[in-house]
Symmetry: C2
Subunit: 252 residues, 2 copies
């Protein structure tokens, strides 16, 4: 049984806690958070504390807090030579205090409070300073996912950057689509099957091959018609930018 303490009580912390509790190989011996309120969403059988000095003994301490707080928080931990990992995509392992053994346990996924997540498909990106710790993190990762990967800090920051494009920026485009329909009182529901199919296509076709649309086929008439529809829109410039990028990529 791998004993873990989760440090933090946000989305990543609560989803990880649930996944570990569902696995037979991991025990969440405690969840720490400085603010008591956030701890109330954890199930009652989980031991919680708001006091750093009361943190229990464990095999792995998992910091799941805001990126910028990782460095100072890791320094404030009142123990030494334990395996302490963070869960951030963008922070290097070295941001952790050297008072403990360092590692990273980064689940590459987007987490919302309300959305149930199936961890089994989520890539868990691991890094550690030494082989034994890496082995332990691999066991921890395998307990909840079939997709455990060794990824160093440099690779991980690139992965996080790519994730911003396919998650944050894509979601923004969904919102643009929703906004455009709202102007004509059309329901966003109309776009949902298309959005899902666009995402599902990546399983069988690489995105470069599955590119379609007026920019790809250099359909100037349709592009002009769209720019006319967008003539007073804040999204006109973004349309032009993305159209040019696709034209450049596909028509040289």
């Amino acid at each position: 049984m791998i004993k873990v303490v989760i440090l933090g009580a946000g989305n990543v912390a609560s989803h990880l806690c649930k996944a570990f509790e569902d696995s037979k190989e991991v025990s969440v011996v405690q969840v720490y958070n400085r603010n008591k309120n956030s701890l109330q969403s954890f199930p009652p059988e989980i031991n919680t504390t708001t006091c750093l000095l009361n943190i229990k003994d464990a095999d792995i301490y998992i910091i799941a807090i805001a990126d910028d707080a990782i460095k100072p928080f890791s320094k404030s931990l009142p123990f030494t030579n334990k395996l302490v990992v963070h869960t951030s995509g963008s922070k290097a392992m070295d941001k952790l205090s050297k008072t403990n053994r360092k590692g990273v346990f980064y689940p590459l996924q987007t987490f919302s409070k309300s959305q149930v997540v199936d961890f089994s498909e989520i890539p868990i990106c691991l890094e550690a300073e030494n082989k034994d710790d890496l082995k332990l993190l691999q066991n921890l990762g395998n307990s909840i996912s079939k997709n455990v990967q060794l990824i160093n800090s440099e690779e991980r920051s690139k992965l996080h950057l790519a994730a911003v494009f396919v998650n944050n920026f894509v979601n923004y485009l969904y919102q643009v689509g929703s906004d455009l329909l709202l102007e004509d009182s059309l329901s966003f529901d109309l776009l949902k099957p298309l959005i899902k199919e666009t995402a599902n296509k990546i399983e069988t076709l690489n995105p470069s091959k599955s590119q379609t649309g007026p920019a790809k086929r250099n359909d100037i008439k349709t592009i002009e018609n769209h720019l006319h529809l967008l003539k007073d829109s804040p999204y006109k410039n973004l349309y032009q930018k993305l159209t040019k990028a696709i034209q450049k990529k596909h028509n040289n």
Copy 2:
């Protein structure tokens, strides 16, 4: 039994043909295409022709060809006063020749040759000049989909514009993500669960509420780190543009 003739042999034509053949209420009496080769991908039980003068009698003639060819092609049809519809998102119904009764049958989805499509969830956007024709198109739509909508040409062009954002532009961002990973020899597979979850989230959260990431939380350090990673990249400018757009939307 609704008798249809499909005019064209591309992705939309072949997917529609399959969907109609699977339904009990529609019979595809013929598929026309000027080029014989493309007709060979249709099942042998479907009657095909390359000659306009041999087109059979039907209740509905469905033009599924390149947008710009719709207008001249509809003029070249050697019959009058029949119901002729096109399947384009961006062309107005009026682009069809007035020698026949006009209509639109627009399935709002992205079609690839290799990908099997479940029509039952696809919005079918209909338009017709008269009530009887609209009723007939509704019956045709209901034979393959649970989601049949009356959408006029103006609304449809807005819908098509929004579809470009959530399909063509989103797919381009997938390709950017793939490219960025390739630079570090990382597999695009790592991003696939994230891409699917991002698309699935729209069922429970509107895109404005589910926005996350460094731009949304105004995390200047991470944004600067990303811009540093992109310093020689053709995608730097796009990153800046989308980041600013999200910051403006969410942080005023």
